[in-house]
C-alpha cells in the first residue's frame, strides 16, 4: 500500500487494566488512510471496543502512540474530529429527533439558522423526513440508530467511530442500514472505523477488515476487501464475497488458539 497521510496511526499501542492484571491490548500497530472503511472484528473480549475508545481518546492507552489526522488523539477530540455511534443509540428522550441531531452543533456554537439547515440535510440523508419532531421512544430501533448516525455526521467529523452500531438490530434492518451506511460513506467521504461481531457485515462494508485475537487483544491479520465499489445487494451474492468471508473466518479461527499472532509481518507492513 502507498503511504498517504494517515487518518489514524497506532504505534505500539497496549492497554492493561487493574495494574497490569488484565492485558486487554498488546502491540497494536495500524494505519488507516483517509476515506478508508476499516472494520475491527474479533471474539468478545479481544479488546476491539477498547481499541476504538483509545482511538477516540475516551480511554488512555497504557503504552504507545495514537495519532489522528497528524495530531495526538486528545487534541483531535478537542478539535471535534470524532463522530461516535454506539451499540445503543444513546439519544436523549427529552429531545426530538431534530434536537438530538443538532446537539453537537449546539455545543460547537453554530447559529440557529445554520443548525436548522444542517439538520434538514441530515434528516434527508438518513431518510427520516416526517419524523423530525418525534421523540426517540416513538421510533423503532433502526430509526433510532439512524438518528444516532445523523448526529455523528452532522458536524462533518473527519473520523466516524462505530461500536457495533447495528448489533442490537434484526438481520433485515441490519442489512438495510448496512446499505445506507455505505451510501452515506460514499457521499460524505469520511473515514470510518467500525467494530462488529458479524463477518458478512465486516466484509460487505469495509475496504479492510482487521481481525483481532483475544487475551491479550492483538491484530491477528488484515484482510483487504477488493470487492468493487459501489456495493449493493448483489455484492453479497458474488463468489468473491464468499471467499473473503471464508478468509476472515479462517483468520478468526486461527487466532482463537492461544498461540502467537499468525502473521505479525503483515501487520508491520501496514505501518506508515
Amino acid at each position: 500500500m502507498s503511504a498517504p497521510p494517515a487518518a489514524v496511526s497506532l504505534a505500539g499501542v497496549g492497554k492493561t487494566f487493574g495494574k497490569g492484571a488484565v492485558r486487554a491490548l498488546e502491540d497494536i500497530d495500524l494505519a488507516i488512510a483517509p476515506g478508508e472503511f476499516v472494520s475491527l472484528i474479533g471474539p468478545s473480549g479481544c479488546g476491539k471496543s477498547t481499541l476504538l475508545r483509545i482511538v477516540g481518546d475516551l480511554i488512555q492507552p497504557s503504552v504507545g502512540d495514537v495519532i489522528v489526522n497528524g495530531k495526538p488523539a486528545h487534541r483531535a477530540r478537542l478539535d471535534h474530529d470524532y463522530g461516535i455511534v454506539f451499540q445503543s443509540a444513546v439519544l436523549y428522550d427529552w429531545r426530538t429527533v431534530t434536537k438530538n441531531i443538532s446537539l453537537p452543533l449546539e455545543l460547537l456554537g453554530w447559529s440557529r439558522g445554520r443548525r436548522n439547515e444542517r439538520v434538514r440535510e441530515m434528516v434527508e440523508l438518513v431518510e427520516l423526513s416526517g419524523f423530525e419532531s418525534h421523540h426517540p421512544w416513538q421510533l423503532s430501533g433502526g430509526m433510532q440508530q439512524r438518528v444516532s448516525i445523523a448526529r455523528a455526521l452532522s458536524f462533518d467529523p473527519a473520523l466516524l467511530l462505530m461500536d457495533e452500531p447495528f448489533g442490537a438490530l434484526d438481520e433485515m434492518t441490519r442489512e438495510r442500514l448496512n446499505m445506507e451506511l455505505l451510501r452515506i460513506w460514499e457521499r460524505s467521504g469520511s473515514t470510518i472505523v467500525f467494530v462488529t461481531h458479524s463477518i458478512p457485515e465486516a466484509v460487505f462494508l469495509s475496504t479492510r477488515v482487521v481481525v483481532m485475537s483475544p487475551r491479550p487483544g492483538r491484530i491477528a491479520g488484515i484482510v483487504e476487501v477488493d470487492l468493487p465499489q459501489p456495493r449493493g445487494a448483489e455484492t453479497r451474492e458474488q463468489p468473491r464475497f464468499f471467499e473473503l468471508v471464508t478468509e476472515v473466518r479462517e483468520r478468526l479461527a486461527g487466532s482463537g488458539a492461544a498461540t502467537a499472532p499468525t502473521e505479525p509481518a503483515l501487520v508491520t507492513e501496514e505501518r506508515v
Partner: protein
Amino acid sequence: MSTVVQPVPRSFGRTIGRRFRDWLPALVVFVLVLVAWQGLVEVFNIRQFLLPKPTAILGALRDNRSDLWSAGIVTFKEALGGFAMGSTAAILVALVLARWRRVGGAIMPYAIAANAVPIIAFAPITNNWFGLLNPMSKMVIAAVLCFFPVFVNTLRGLTSVEPASIELMRSYAAGEIETFRRVRIPNALPFIFTGLKVASVLAMIGAVVGEYFGGPLDALGVVIQNNVALFDFPLAWAGIIVASAFGIAFYAAVAVAEHFLTGWQPAADSRSD
C-alpha cells in the same frame, strides 16, 4: 415505517375526559364512605368529640369559611416558604455531590442519619430560635422535612445516566458544565419532580405541626388546636379538611408543573400517581 409508535395525543379536553373516567370509581367510594360515616354516627349515636357527623363538619366549614380560608393561606405561605428553601437547598447540594463524588462519600452517611431524626421534635426549638409568631420558625421545619426526599431523588437522577451518554459528551469535548446542563439535569428532572411531590405534602404537614407548638392565632394549626380545646370538634375537623385541601392542591400544582416540564416522557400522562 409501520413500526413507529404514534405519539400520545395531548389534547387537553380528552385528557380531562379520560381523567374523569379514571377517577369515577374513587369518587363513588368517597361518597359511599361519607354516607356510611353519617349513618354510623347517627345509628350508634357516637359522641361528637369522638367523631362528628360529616354534615356537622360541612356546616362548620360553611359557617367559618372565610376565617378558615385565611388561616389556610397563612399556613400555606409557611409551607410554601419552607418548600422553596428546602427544595432549593436539596437540589444545590445534590448538584455539588453529583459533581464531586468524593465529597458525596464524606457527606452521605450524615445525610442519611439526619433523615432518621424526628424533625418534628425540633418544632419547639425552632419556635425558640425565631419566635412563635415569626413564620420562619415554621418554614424551617417544613424546609428540613422537604430536604431529604428532594435531595435523594435529585442525586439519583443526576447520577443515573448511561455511561455512553457521558462518553458521547466527552467525544464532543464538552465540559462538566455542558454535560450537566444538557445531560445530567434533564435526565434528573423526572426524579426531581418525584421528590418535589413528596415534599409538597410534607411541607404542609411541617407547617401545621409547627403551629401546634404555638404560632399566630390566625394560623391553621393554632385554629385546629384551639377548637379542640374549646370542644368545637366540627370546626377542628373543618380545619383539618382545609389543611388537607391545601396539601392536595399543592401536590396537584407540582404535578401540573411536572406535566408541562417533563411532557417529553414516554406516556407521561398514563402513569397513575
